[in-house]
């Protein structure tokens, strides 16, 4: 059985990665599973300097999903490089670093510093709904998305994935813009902007009022967007949004994804990625698929 895939020249032993922000920097999960089994680890977003993030409560559960308003809390790229890369490099898996910033200069600054790090790919997060400046503003305007992709790409020797926001009218427009800006791959979707209200207190549940909606409830939106983007650009796609099982992952691959990432499901079960990998293999076995690449975009 052949399970490896190649994305922008990087080979993954299997198509399964971890979604940024849902797997810490891997350390937390090493107690629960063998990280060597993962195709790749996409670590939580890092910025050029420490970000404190939003006040608590930052988490709310909704029907089949959740809202988060973490606000990209991170210790900054220097601490990250010192503490997390050496840990992750012990394992036989690809390291993808998700980057955040409030201005184009900040994104460029993180990228430049990451050139010293032993990592496999960079994922540009221009789609976080939880930070006021930067973040989502870059991901919802085609011109800005193309510009920032181009600026970051200039300084990155690693292949660049651009992570797209679902909070737009036409996601293919943004996908085309980042392709034009020189992206090597795209990943989608980031969280949808959502809100939950405590009806007794008549107040939003989250301190930040609104948050990013993720989990199994968003899967149909994500599958639809992956398929739309697959039909409109040439770049390889990493699909995510609500993946909990091998069957979910296969659905994304049929829609056009080359790789997949597991996010909120890690909170539902710390071994969720293992289940997804085993589920894909079982599906291949049962349906006579010898090479996982046969599934990519193979929608009838």
């Amino acid at each position: 059985m052949h399970t490896s895939v190649t994305i922008a020249g990087v080979t993954f032993d299997n198509p399964v990665m971890t979604a940024s922000g849902t797997f810490g920097s891997g350390k937390e999960y090493a107690e629960y599973m063998d990280l060597n089994g993962l195709g790749g680890i996409i670590v939580k977003g890092v910025a050029s300097k420490e970000w404190l993030g939003n006040p608590a409560p930052r988490i709310a559960e909704t029907y089949g999903g959740m809202l988060n308003a973490v606000g990209l809390q991170n210790p900054g790229v220097d601490v990250f490089m010192e503490e997390d890369i050496p840990f992750l490099r012990q394992y036989n898996t690809n390291i993808v670093v998700n980057i955040a910033g409030k201005t184009v200069e900040e994104y460029v600054d993180v990228t430049k510093r990451l050139q010293q790090a032993d990592i496999d790919m960079i994922e540009l997060n221009i789609s976080c709904p939880n930070v006021k400046e930067g973040g989502v503003a870059f991901g919802t305007d085609a011109g800005m998305a193309e510009y920032i992709t181009k600026e970051v790409k200039k300084h990155a020797k690693q292949p660049l994935i651009v992570k797209l926001s679902p909070n737009v009218t036409d996601i293919t427009e943004i996908a085309k813009a980042v392709e034009a800006g020189g992206a090597d791959a795209v990943s989608l979707i980031n969280t949808l902007l959502g809100m939950k209200i405590d009806i007794y207190k008549r107040r939003p549940v989250l301190a930040n009022r609104v948050g990013g909606f993720s989990g199994p409830a968003i899967k149909p939106v994500a599958v639809r967007m992956v398929h739309q983007v697959y039909k409109s650009i040439q770049l390889p796609i990493i699909g995510l949004g609500g993946i909990c099982t091998g069957e979910d992952a296969v659905e994304f691959m049929l829609a056009g994804a080359t790789g997949v990432a597991v996010g909120t499901a890690n909170f539902m079960n710390p071994r969720a990625t293992v289940d997804v990998i085993e589920g894909i293999e079982r599906f291949m076995d049962e349906t006579g698929v010898e090479d996982v690449r046969e599934l990519i975009g193979a929608l009838e």
Binding site: G21, T22, F23, G24, E28, Y29, A30, E31, Y32, M33, D34, K44, L52, G53, A56, P57, R58, I59, A60, E61, Y63, G64, G65, M66, N68, V70, Q73, Q90, Y91, G215, P216, T264, N266, F267, M268, N269, P270, R271
Partner: protein, 258 residues
């Protein structure tokens, strides 16, 4: 990377699940490893069966019986998840993960003070069992009380209720003042206003205190950075965020900002 130590969610069998006060349930389940490894103040992630409820519910471990492999949790029905747990019967199963978090650090001293508020009371039971010396336990409830007899086996117990239905009317802090509580170490778990008042109380008397905090959690294992509390630093902002699930739930009263 030691693969022998891999922890995972476990399906455990429920030995008992009874209502011990209005809306408060005590569940006993069998899980040898949790029973052996739990330190007072740690918690378990309890998972719902309904697909609509995806996140684990963190519930403190009330007490363990390592030899019999039994674990007791006490929870209050506040929403759909805890309602689902309350409907389970002995003989059925439930998924749990744990023990999680850092618990209390028992300090050997002559007299210790334990303060519990509402469903913050349960995790103090295992602690009171394990602490050496004389123990004074102050429990505060809105109305009624539970677990009091269990505490009485190990300590002198004082009770306060908001409505005066059991013990003295008022807050636990009022009660501690009335009794003239004394000791060299304080341990507490309960609602934030209680912990904040206790922080002031222990500060004024210069008694060290360990406070167990609660926050909404996503993962319970330190990955989502959802469950943060503020901790003092000497940086420009004056604070940083720590994770209640992994760095806590127990924090030093001096460092935590409530």
């Amino acid at each position: 990377m030691c693969q022998d130590n891999i922890k995972s969610k476990k399906t455990v069998s429920i030995i008992a699940n009874e209502e011990i006060a209005a809306g408060v349930y005590q569940m006993v389940f069998r899980e040898q490893e949790i029973a052996e490894r739990t330190k007072p103040g740690q918690f378990v992630n309890v998972y719902c069966q309904a697909d609509s409820r995806i996140l684990p519910r963190p519930i403190s471990i009330c007490q363990v019986e390592p030899r019999a492999g039994l674990v007791t949790i006490v929870y209050m029905v506040v929403g759909q998840g805890t309602k689902e747990f309350s409907n389970l019967q002995a003989g059925q199963t439930i998924d749990v993960l744990g023990p999680l978090g850092n618990g209390f650090s028992p300090v050997a001293c002559e007299e210790s003070i334990l303060v519990g508020g509402g469903v913050g009371t349960p995790p103090l039971l295992e602690l009171v069992k394990q602490l050496p010396g004389t123990k004074h336990v102050f429990l505060g409830f809105r109305t009624g009380s539970y677990l009091v007899d269990a505490f009485k086996q190990y300590a002198q117990v004082y009770i306060a209720t908001d409505d005066g239905s059991v013990g003295q009317q008022g807050t636990v802090i009022d009660l501690m003042n009335a009794v003239g509580a004394k000791g060299q170490q304080v341990y507490a778990c309960g609602p934030k206003p209680m912990l904040a008042a206790l922080k002031t109380w222990t500060n004024e008397r210069d008694i060290p205190a360990q406070l167990s905090l609660e926050e909404r959690m996503g993962c319970g294992i330190g990955a989502c950075v959802g469950c943060v509390c503020k901790v003092k630093t000497d940086t420009e902002s004056g604070f940083t965020y720590k994770k209640v699930c992994k760095d806590g739930p127990v924090f030093d009263a001096k460092e935590v900002i409530l």
